[in-house]
Symmetry: C2
Subunit: 668 residues, 2 copies
């Protein structure tokens, strides 16, 4: 069976150039080349194998992560990889590790919040990994409400030091990855107290452990916070707890790019605009959107391939049964997720552009687009991560019973992904921020200032309030304009409705709290519109011009429309209750969707092949490239430690006596 | 902090008699008493502690399960527990074990499918646990399509034996719990081949392992299929793989209640109706619905209590922050789940009645209500398990970051629950069965035969097609009639739409496949109607009469309406597109819902206290009865094996060299 491509018939059915699609997915020929090379490098190296992960106990698991991180670093140095290559290599190792926080949070915190001098002092150490950092912000009692953090940093002018202290149990730092067992240093966030005042939360570089014996420094208590969701998943990470008992650090370890404390203890703002910090948030959330498309596409790839291997019911007597992907129920659940994976990928690319645009403007002193960009990335982070988390679990269910096995890769993928809905801004809290921005935008409409960026459509609010769709036949829904207008009208009306209801409250904050569930709905409608508009206009228009490769354009257009029409069906209550479309048009959308599913069906396997994932990265017997599922599933089973012996340890002690017992007085 | 009830202020706010509600929830004073006593028995016995479960490796975990199962059996015998008590004790141990399948599937299979003689031979052995059985039906290649099983049982008239054989890899039995390491016997399902014909799938009792040395008998290969989703979760169960190589069993080990093979190899039907088998399915699925309410209520209990402990944002400067349960966004996500937990509980009780009614009729030779009862339980199994699985995960997210810790109990609850969506009928496949039944019902409407049971409303289809809701103000939605009529009209119209579209196809089966996604939607609408109608009529009516206890009735009425109106909002597209209600009425439903949330808020903690769960059973630091969350969360963290040593094993080997390395040739 080895070496046979069981999915070859599927691949031969596809109607487009997969190699060209791989480049579209990767973003550019260069991005494809690097990603392809790094993924193969990891996949071909047995040191990076991960199939044994679910069976390891916590200590072994963590030791294994240290080994891989050290080995990855060794290869990065040996092969003289660029930063881009190194970062990709780490992501293909596909295992949360303390190094993620070091590279992804600690170093960026110094870069973003440190002065030039501080950067010169700390970055070389960090970049050579002579120190390892973590990002210690959240506390046992405070996550979302960063301004409520309790840890204090009190300036002592006598010694020119800050005294870092945890005044309560709930002020214990809680969750920082890399903190529990590894980090030597932390970017620690604490309330700055000086000159008799509380200046709110600021960042400090604090050494946590000795560079000699790795023991926590005096006054510092650190531990791991314990097991988390899933077998392997985030248990490879040492999320930690940290308490300070009057720990002293030099004054120059406050991150002082935006504000400083002088030798005398005066608090001073620098000329660097505070808004730069928001720029960093735009950056981080943009990467989360890109990562959402990766996580979702992995799950979709597994479910799509296995849905072609799995056969159940139907078929002629004695012949093969029907491939489960041929069932419309399977298509109606899977294809919208396939479309979402592509949609999020392109929106992620657009966000990259947005980030660069915002930064360029910030550097030129133009802060005008920042609030809109900030709201937009917050909303898209929320939207894409929620859909992805649910989508991975849906893909698991689409694999039937076998999706419940760790060897399917899907339980791990889910467990490792779901915290994304909570970290870097809880998804509901973020949508409320978007809603606030929308309400502000509406409030300003009368002022004559036109709304910008993704809220520009609000400038046409009067037209949109009167909009009624002109769709008359199913094919009309293939036209980007019809789709876009319906989404604009729905989003505008949901927001305007909220604004009207808010106006009924004498206290606007009270109104905002009372109507928050409706405000979240309006924000979701707005964010879905952003995705649809980027697909319809930026993306499909771009397609008209310069996408080469046979059939690639057609597939992408189909995916974009599937993304939009599926949302339209799912949120039909919105579209109908706001009167943007009528019931007949909704039914035509359903009809068009079914027709698009039929068109996607022969291309499904090729569309997931275009993600270019190695079998190592997928980590799924069900999602194997060659479709040789059942023999491998059988082979995997025998590797479970429970199969080390025929009669399990404990049987003689516990079960045998039960079987041999002579019962006298049972009532049963 | 010990001994203080941090949730006392919440409890004192409640407006109803919690003790009376406990009895309503349990079903009767007797049921409450047994459940209360058994749960305390388990909770107070340190042998049953389970908080260490996520940290155990697979072998230790499984050994621990054997220990608990043996100990539970010992207690059952010592205390001379009744069957009801024993079964409750096992469920409060709260850990999947091989004994579940022995008691829950193997013994019922013999009772349901064995002749009296076979029952006399096998039941005493099984009931004394002198043999331990499993239920070996699904195969690597076949789950949903039971009729497609490949294992063969060929009658050999020469020796009066069946030869059980696995002809292919995909015919390996795969998934049976208890099979992998423990079961001595199995109810094995195989195609019966005799007299030159294939008579389809039948059950056989097959001894799998020696009662002396516990080794698999000759010709039998058995193993565990490996790790599954979650840390502890179903990894305490030895789901197994099983292959037969021409294994011989005596003819009298075919389960022969419904059909027999004679000494000569003739296949004969007995006078016992085949339909009895469907009766068993009704029973099993009814218990799954009851279990859904239990699983969902556990998650809701944890999220509700913790939402009162957790405070974030808001609050006066220096004062306490706002309890997160006071946020409308939290209420709008949590309270519908609280209402669903109650709704499923009552529907489960009704299904018990339905099962007994069907069995009474079957025994009297009346098969008329069976198809409807079968469709109804299939649909409710699908509906309630899907909502519960998603609801548990939603509760986890409602606990913010800390819900991701195993010590929250929620990851386990989710991972152990989700297979319910797949086993005993995949939820989508079941909804298609319901849809088929609905289409048959509609097809027969012309014949003058009135539809029965839960499809009775179809008899008024002409009226329902013209229905337009008369709701004029928000309070109208409190009237059960308005709610019920809207749900009836929506369900009827969804079904009629499907029937009309089906009629356009010349080949009905083709039409059914093409429209299956829409058919599933119609079936969901029907099943939601069942729940709503049982709540609105059977349940609220019952309330009018005989529910004692201050305020209990009011709370239950509120929960019922919350259940219904939340669905109405969630499936608004259905209600609007079918024209049952208009946009204004939808908006009034939203208004009424918000008002009900405010009424539920002060009663929320008491409503989850009414479930009467011990802290042991909840297994959640976040859901502790006393609300003393943060000190206990902190305490739990230190129990992780990774905290056994300050410097983790592997640090010297892997991380220290990295920190001490002098880099020369890095490009970074």
């Amino acid at each position: 069976m080895e070496g046979i491509d069981h999915l070859a018939p599927e691949r031969s059915k596809s109607q487009f150039d997969v190699d060209e699609m791989k480049i579209v997915w990767a973003g550019s020929p260069h991005a494809f080349e690097v990603s392809d090379r790094m993924s193969r490098l990891v996949a071909s190296d047995p040191a990076f194998r991960k199939d044994n992960r679910p069976m390891l106990g916590r200590k072994e698991l963590f030791k294994n992560t240290m080994r891989k991180a050290a080995y990855a670093w060794k290869r990065i140095i040996e092969l003289r990889l660029t930063e881009e290559e190194a970062s990709m290599l780490r992501s293909f190792v596909d295992e949360p590790a303390f190094t993620d926080l070091h590279w992804g949070m600690f170093i960026p915190a110094i870069k973003g919040q440190g002065t030039e001098e501080q950067q010169k002092q700390w970055l070389p150490l960090a970049q050579k990994m002579q120190i390892i950092g973590c990002y210690a912000q959240t506390e046992l009692g405070h996550g979302s409400n960063v301004q409520g953090l309790e840890t204090t940093a009190t300036f002592d002018p006598k010694t020119d030091e800050f005294v870092i202290h945890s005044p309560t149990l709930t002020s214990s730092k809680w969750w920082p990855g890399g903190l529990g067992k590894i980090a030597t240093h932390g970017a620690v966030y604490a309330r700055l107290l000086t000159d008799g005042r509380d200046y709110g939360v600021h960042g400090f570089i604090v050494q946590l452990r000795s560079l000699d014996d790795h023991l926590p420094l005096p006054g510092i208590t650190i531990g791991d916070i314990g097991m988390k969701f899933g077998n392997g998943a985030y248990n490879t990470m040492d999320n930690g707890v940290l308490q300070f008992d009057h720990v002293r650090i030099p004054r120059n370890q406050m991150l002082m790019r935006v504000s400083q404390v002088t030798r005398e203890g005066k608090y001073v703002q620098s000329s660097v605009p505070r808004q730069l910090v928001y720029g960093t948030m735009v950056y981080v959330r943009q990467t989360i959107v890109s990562d959402a498309s990766i996580a979702l596409s992995r799950a979709v790839c597994i479910a799509t391939r296995y849905s072609c291997v799995r056969r159940q019911f139907g078929g002629k007597k004695g012949g093969l049964e029907t491939q489960v992907l041929d069932y419309k129920t399977q298509q109606a659940r899977l294809f919208p997720l396939l479309a979402s994976a592509y949609a999020f990928r392109f929106v992620g690319e657009w966000l990259k552009w947005l980030y660069m645009d915002v930064m360029k403007r910030l550097q030129a002193g133009d802060f005008s687009t920042l609030p809109e960009a900030h709201a937009c990335t917050a909303g898209l982070k929320s939207l894409t991560t929620s859909v992805t988390a649910d989508g991975i679990e849906e893909c698991r269910k689409l694999c039937g019973g076998h999706g419940y096995l760790c060897s399917s890769g899907l339980p791990e993928l889910f467990a490792v992904y779901v915290p994304t809905c909570t970290y870097e801004g809880d998804n509901v809290v973020l949508m409320l921020q978007v809603a606030r921005h929308l309400m502000k935008t509406i409030a300003k409409l009368g002022s004559g200032k036109r709304p910008v960026g993704t809220t520009a459509y609000m400038g046409r609010v009067e037209l949109l309030m009167q909009y009624q769709s002109n769709v008359q036949k199913a094919e009309d829904w293939l036209k980007p304009n019809f789709v876009l207008e319906a989404f604009e009208a729905r989003a505008a009306r949901k927001s305007v409705d909220c604004a009207k209801n808010l106006a009924k409250f004498s206290n606007p904050e009270e109104g905002f709290l009372e109507l928050s569930a409706e405000l979240v709905e309006a924000a979701v409608a707005h964010c879905q519109l952003i995705v649809v508009s980027k697909l319809c206009f930026r993306f499909i228009e771009k397609l008209q011009q310069d996408i080469p490769g046979k059939g690639v354009k057609q597939q992408l257009e189909n995916l974009c429309i599937v993304y939009a029409l599926n949302l339209l069906r799912k949120y039909l209550g919105d579209f109908l209750s706001t009167g943007c479309i009528n019931a007949e048009q909704a039914s035509l959308a359903g009809e068009q969707l079914r027709s698009l599913y039929s068109q996607l069906r022969p291309n499904a396997v090729a569309l997931v092949d275009a993600f270019n994932y190695t079998d190592h990265y997928l980590g799924s017997v069900l999602g194997r490239y060659d479709g040789n599922v059942y023999p491998k599933l059988y082979e995997e089973a025998w590797k479970d430690p429970l199969n080390d012996s025929v009669v399990p340890d404990g049987f003689q002690e516990y079960v045998r006596p039960m079987l041999k017992q002579q019962l006298r007085n049972a009532r049963l």
